[in-house]
């Protein structure tokens, strides 16, 4: 559905997206996971034809983003990172105005709006202005606004950022139910749990580059293994790990050992460097994420 090859975007010489390639397939949820400033929003803007690419190729449903902007936008639904609901209009009027931009006839739009309000439990807020809505309600409204044209591809830029757990779970449920209806979904997030739960496939992005690609479990297996054993960072531990050719990484005062066989390495550690706390757990996407993007704080 979306194919990018060597896609680039720079702003006055600053490279925000650096030679990325990816292929989003029909009916899947495809994620872009990365810290702030990774280039996720910039990539979404190029897909939705509101920001021209600098170089490379990008096709949406077989159409070039440079030459078929209006055709592409007809098939897209977009939930932008920042809510941009119209504060001059009510919930209902927001949706109606939006339906007109897609040339949807009034009667069809009215019927669809009622269904969509019902879909995200906003029917009671139909005639309310935007400002008094809660963050979760606004996000749900932006979501159904993106569905007004029955899009084939839905782009969600940080769909649950800043929401409480209840609101977040509700959005997740809606996203899954949209996938089951056959909508192709592209989402960006910096929440690992969101990526792990929702995405069929994802890429991890940082500094404009794609660092890893695959299903969440594939990525974890490829970069970490299945399990992680943690213990204290100590020369004798390191020496022991080196003897056994273990894959490990040191963080300030702990060592993380990446392994497919946690029993084995735990046994060796207990035998050779006893009396140290050892914990074993399943490896997660978070471990890969931190391994690839580092632990340094991002602005």
């Amino acid at each position: 559905m979306i194919v990018a090859k060597g896609l680039n975007k720079s702003f006055d010489g600053f490279v925000a997206v650096d030679e990325i390639s990816f292929n989003v397939k029909e009916g899947e949820i495809f994620g872009f996971l990365g810290p702030n400033g990774a280039g996720k929003t910039t990539t979404m803007n190029m897909i939705q034809c509101i920001s021209p690419k600098t170089s490379g190729t990008l096709e949406v449903m077989g159409m070039d983003v440079n030459t078929h902007q209006r055709e592409i936008k007809k098939f897209l639904g977009v939930v932008p990172q920042e809510n941009n609901l119209d504060p001059d209009l009510t919930v209902y009027e927001n949706l109606l105005a939006y339906s007109r931009y897609f040339n949807i006839p009034r009667e069809i739009a009215e019927k669809r709006i009622d269904e969509l309000l019902n879909f995200v439990q906003l029917t009671g807020k139909r005639d309310t202005l935007i400002e008094p809505l809660s963050g979760g309600m606004k996000r749900r409204l932006v979501l159904i606004r993106a569905l007004i044209n029955k899009p084939k591809i839905l782009i969600l830029d940080e769909p649950t950022v800043g929401l409480d757990p209840q609101a977040r779970h509700l959005i997740w449920e809606k996203i899954k139910s949209l996938r089951s209806r056959g909508v192709t979904i592209v989402l960006t997030t910096h929440y690992l749990e969101e990526a792990a739960r929702l995405c069929d496939r994802l890429v991890i992005m940082d500094y404009g580059k794609i660092l890893a690609e695959g299903s969440p479990s594939e990525i974890v297996r490829e970069y970490i293994g299945t399990d992680i054993v943690e213990t204290e960072n100590d020369p004798s531990v390191i020496a022991c790990l080196k003897r056994h050719a273990a894959r490990f990484e040191t963080l300030e005062d702990t060592v993380q050992i990446y392994t497919e066989n946690p029993q084995e390495i735990t046994y060796q550690l207990l035998k050779e460097c006893p009396s140290r706390p050892i914990t074993a757990r399943q490896a997660s996407l978070e471990d890969v994420f931190l391994k690839l993007t580092g632990k340094k704080l991002r602005e």
């Binding site: 209006r70 007809k74 941009n84 105005a97 931009y101």
Partner: protein, 260 residues
């Protein structure tokens, strides 16, 4: 990207116009008041107040002389402020333009819709003023009715001027510069409250080249007095030409600002 590329437009332009009309109609009672009250204030202060000392201007009773100027100023202000402060708020604070361009509507169509809406506000406000002025027998009917379509044309000019400033304004308060450096002088020196020919000759030419309101007042005055002048074709040609140029320029400037 060129500054003078003619925009590709579709009928979606009117969907943008419709959005603004819907918002306007939600508060129409408030919106219809200023164009009713403003001309009355000016008429009492200038026409009937000052008018007791100035009986005629250029051979015309003073209230009748300024009536077309009041309409012209309203045409100018309605479109100019709609497409400066109004558009700036929608563009920058409300992100309305960003929301719309995520749909099949293009940025060129958004800006054109905004300009047409600005022109429509001029038309609405000028139309509301006509019965007020007619009640005081200050305008000739039916000739003055031609002001209704003309208000849209002239409004489009001021909308395009305003949009150019909006496109280059770093923030909303810098929009005050064109207001007092351009709109205020036009208000005073465009043949509004005294005839252009009282100005020193170089200033007359300056007014004719650089103050669009001069041409608008010239036409509205001809219409309200039902008196043609041989300048009218020149006035109209000037308005249409400059409108076209600034329309194209404002769309391209806005595109440059918003599409990065």
């Amino acid at each position: 990207m060129s500054y003078f590329k003619f925009p590709e437009l579709t009928a979606l332009v009117w969907k943008v116009w419709l959005r603004n009309r819907d918002v306007f109609m939600k508060t129409y009672r408030v919106n219809f008041l200023p164009p009713l009250i403003e001309p009355l204030l000016y008429l009492f202060a200038l026409g009937f107040g000052l008018g007791t000392y100035i009986e005629t201007m250029d051979g015309i009773p003073y209230p009748r002389f300024i009536a077309p100027a009041l309409i012209s100023i309203s045409i100018m202000n309605s479109a100019f402020f709609e497409c400066t402060f109004g558009s700036y708020v929608r563009m920058y604070y409300q992100k309305t333009f960003n929301a719309i361009i995520a749909t099949p509507v293009s940025i060129e169509e958004v800006i054109t819709g905004e300009l047409l809406w600005g022109a429509t506000k001029s038309l609405i406000n000028a139309t509301i003023m006509l019965p007020v002025l007619a009640a005081f027998k200050l305008i000739e009917l039916p000739h003055a009715l031609l002001i209704i379509p003309f208000a849209f044309i002239a409004g489009f000019l001021f909308a395009s001027i305003g949009m150019c400033f909006t496109a280059i304004s770093p923030n909303i308060s810098t929009l005050n510069y064109p207001t007092f450096l351009f709109i205020t002088p036009m208000f005073l020196f465009s043949g509004t409250f005294f005839p252009l020919k009282l100005l020193p000759e170089p200033l007359q030419y300056l007014a004719l080249t650089a103050l669009p309101l001069t041409h608008v007042v010239s036409i509205t005055r001809a219409l309200t007095l039902a008196k043609t002048s041989n300048l009218l074709i020149f006035n109209l040609t000037w308005i249409l030409t400059i409108s076209l140029i600034l329309f194209i320029l404002s769309v391209n400037l806005m595109k440059k600002r918003l599409i990065t």
